[in-house]
């Protein structure tokens, strides 16, 4: 708790409060725009933080994350367009509530749920981080490699759509991360003789191109079919009945979301989906689910916020990003010369605890700032996308140029933007690519170090019980779904035979 209090001392410094506020505000502004979620918002706004000191930069990025998530929920409720996957569930009942004239109530419940979950998340991080870090300082290259592989396998298990396509994306991301100097020998690789590629592709340009510009291109293509009709907000005060029915789903969602967020590949999206399922089981009004049940908004909104907080733990304590947003945060930390991992809490406590405390401060700001501004966000939704997209593009290309004051970065941004657009058109999920790109360097480094250390690989692995346990867990994750799929097929076959 001492660390958390120190974190509040950092987060509540006037300068950091301003950056947290700016991040939450601009994040909401971008998050409210349909089709742009937290990942795109962070990718677009990363260059803004380059000149800041690391603590302020990370606090601002965390603010952008929460702001954009909150903005995404607002559009999910008002126009049934989720900012990102984590708000999809909110559409189901949130939009129905809005159609019944209860949009204000739905938005207020979402804000209260997010706030409670943020509080639970910040406290839980304070409790869990230290024991986890004490365990993680025993990690060597083999354990790090096993952990990174586990992360990839969880991503694969949870990947949406085709697993083969996700694997192709992982290979592509790893290959992209290998452009530039070799991590061990320093020899240039795949640079095509272009001096700007000697240091490899910057994570900001890759993420901004694939997530941000790619998303804008996708929306440009749909100018003609895009038509938004926001419903009236109504009163922002939830009824007593709404508050009563929301209290337990919010608490359940907070705990459940946090625990799911801890898993690599977990995070906000999975948390919101599972919470919705749980609330559907617990409710006394199952018939209302899908027709405007307030529990269907309260639980998932709390869960996705707590899941986001939980997903910060593997990132900050182990240096392991579990989802695209935390992968971008990892990139941002690296840009600011901060290496997340077990040693970060000891060496840079102000960053670790400052970020944890700023999550809480950010949530308070979102409630205080955004509830009165809902009218403004609704007005923003009425501005046609064809007028807004030009400003977004200008924002991104200035951001890319300002990284190194080099127009080549703008052209690289364009190349990755086109790549992101094409991959969307070919129905590839771009999230595994970014995760692999960010993790590519550490994976190759740890793999080659492990190979150097291990004269007899099997014997070496037997002497590393932690690495062995992690790998066994990873194997289990691959085998279990196969086993249950085979069992399901056998059951179907038996049922058909009996018929």
């Amino acid at each position: 708790m001492e660390g958390l209090l120190g974190g509040f001392a950092v987060a509540l410094q006037p300068g950091n409060l301003v950056f947290c506020f700016a991040g939450a505000f601009v994040g909401t502004l971008i998050g409210v725009l349909p089709g742009l979620g937290p990942t795109a918002a962070i990718a677009m706004l990363l260059p803004l933080t380059i000149g800041l000191d690391p603590v302020s930069a990370i606090i601002m990025i965390a603010g952008i994350y929460y702001g954009a998530s909150y903005g995404g929920s607002t559009t999910a409720i008002l126009v049934k367009i989720p900012g990102e996957a984590q708000s999809v569930v909110t559409c189901l009942d949130g939009y129905k509530m809005a159609q019944q004239g209860r949009a204000g109530s739905a938005i207020a419940i979402a804000a209260i749920g997010s706030f409670v979950a943020g509080t639970v998340g910040a406290l839980a991080i304070g409790l869990i981080s230290m024991p986890l870090v004490e365990f993680a300082v025993r990690f060597g290259p083999a354990e790090n490699l096993a952990l990174l592989l586990l992360g990839f396998i969880v991503i694969l298990v949870l990947a949406k759509g085709n697993v083969v396509k996700s694997l192709i994306m992982i290979c592509a991301g790893l290959l992209l991360s290998m452009v530039g100097q070799d991590v061990i020998t320093g020899q240039p690789r795949f640079t095509l003789g272009i001096p700007e590629l000697a240091d490899g592709f910057g994570v900001v340009v890759v993420a901004m191109g694939i997530f941000g510009l790619g998303e804008v291109f996708d929306n440009v293509e749909k100018f003609r079919t895009r038509d938004m009709q926001a419903v009236p907000v109504g009163s922002l005060m939830p009824t007593k009945e709404d508050l009563k029915r929301s209290s337990m789903p919010i608490l359940r969602g907070s705990v459940l979301g946090f625990l799911i967020g801890l898993l690599p590949g977990g995070g906000a999206t999975l948390a919101s989906f599972i919470s919705y399922g749980v609330e559907k089981k617990f409710t006394k009004h199952p018939e209302e689910f899908g027709n405007g049940a307030v529990e269907g908004v309260a639980g998932p909104e709390a869960a996705n916020n707590a899941g986001a907080a939980g997903s910060f733990i593997p990132l900050l304590a182990l240096g392991l990003p579990g989802n695209p947003v935390t992968a971008l945060l990892l990139g941002a930390l690296i840009v600011h010369n901060v290496t997340p991992g077990p040693l970060m809490i000891q060496e840079r406590p102000e960053i670790f605890w400052g970020v944890v405390a700023s999550m809480y401060v950010g949530n308070v700001m979102l409630v205080l700032l955004n509830l009165p501004l809902i009218g403004v966000w609704v007005q923003l939704l009425k501005v046609p996308y064809r007028a807004l997209y030009a400003a977004l593009i200008l924002f991104m290309i200035i951001g890319a140029y300002s990284l190194n004051n080099n127009p080549t970065e703008v052209l690289l941004l364009l190349v990755f933007g086109v790549l992101g657009y094409v991959l969307r058109k070919l129905s590839f999920d771009t999230a595994p690519l970014i995760l692999a790109f960010v993790l590519g360097g550490p994976i190759e480094f740890n793999l080659r170090q492990t190979m150097m250390l291990a004269r007899e690989p099997v014997e070496y692995l037997m002497g590393r019980p932690i690495a062995l346990t992690i790998l066994a867990f990873a194997l289990l994750l691959i085998v279990l779904p196969m086993f249950s799929a085979v069992r399901q097929k056998l059951m179907v076959a038996r049922a058909v035979n009996e018929l």
């Binding site: 790893l174 061990i184 079919t225």
Partner: protein, 157 residues
């Protein structure tokens, strides 16, 4: 029911993966591969490239599965709009250091707004472009001290 567009996407995706894998494998083999204990710079990329070829081939050989329907596909018109936006950004990248941020940015913004209005000549787009560039200059160059180039063509870059 698999739509013909899904089948084309599936095949294109597989073919593109194989092509990228082949290029990656060829480029990796130009680098030292090392041995099992001391992996060279080309070893890991080579394994990844071969994996990519294998996975893409497997994808190509398996029948396409129906993808979630893209309810808002913009068709050829939409793709053409994207193409023009790409060309405008590329032109901005090439012109930025030559004619400076204000002019190249102004041209880009005019083009983007004109595309939004679906008209080549538009007074509204011109006004919006000028206002956007003034706002961008005040925000980025004056307030945030971002060094945007003034343009070598004018002799003072």
């Amino acid at each position: 029911m698999i739509r013909p567009a899904d089948r084309v996407r599936h095949r294109l995706g597989g073919a593109a993966g194989i092509l990228c894998g082949l290029v990656g494998a060829f480029a990796s083999m130009q680098l030292p591969l090392g041995n099992a204990r001391l992996l060279g710079p080309g070893a890991v990329p080579l394994v990844l490239s071969l994996a990519m070829i294998g996975l893409s081939a497997a994808m190509l050989l398996r029948p396409a599965k129906p993808e979630p329907a893209d309810e808002e596909d913009g068709g050829l018109h939409g793709a053409a709009m994207v193409g023009i936006v790409v060309l405008l950004i590329a032109a901005f990248g090439f012109l930025l250091t030559r004619i400076g941020f204000l002019l190249s940015g102004g041209l880009l913004m005019y083009g983007l707004y004109a595309i939004g209005e679906e008209r080549v000549l538009s007074l509204g787009a011109l006004v919006k472009a000028v206002l956007s560039m003034i706002a961008a200059y005040l925000l980025f160059v004056v307030a945030l001290s971002v060094n945007m180039p003034a343009g070598s063509l004018w002799g003072y870059y």
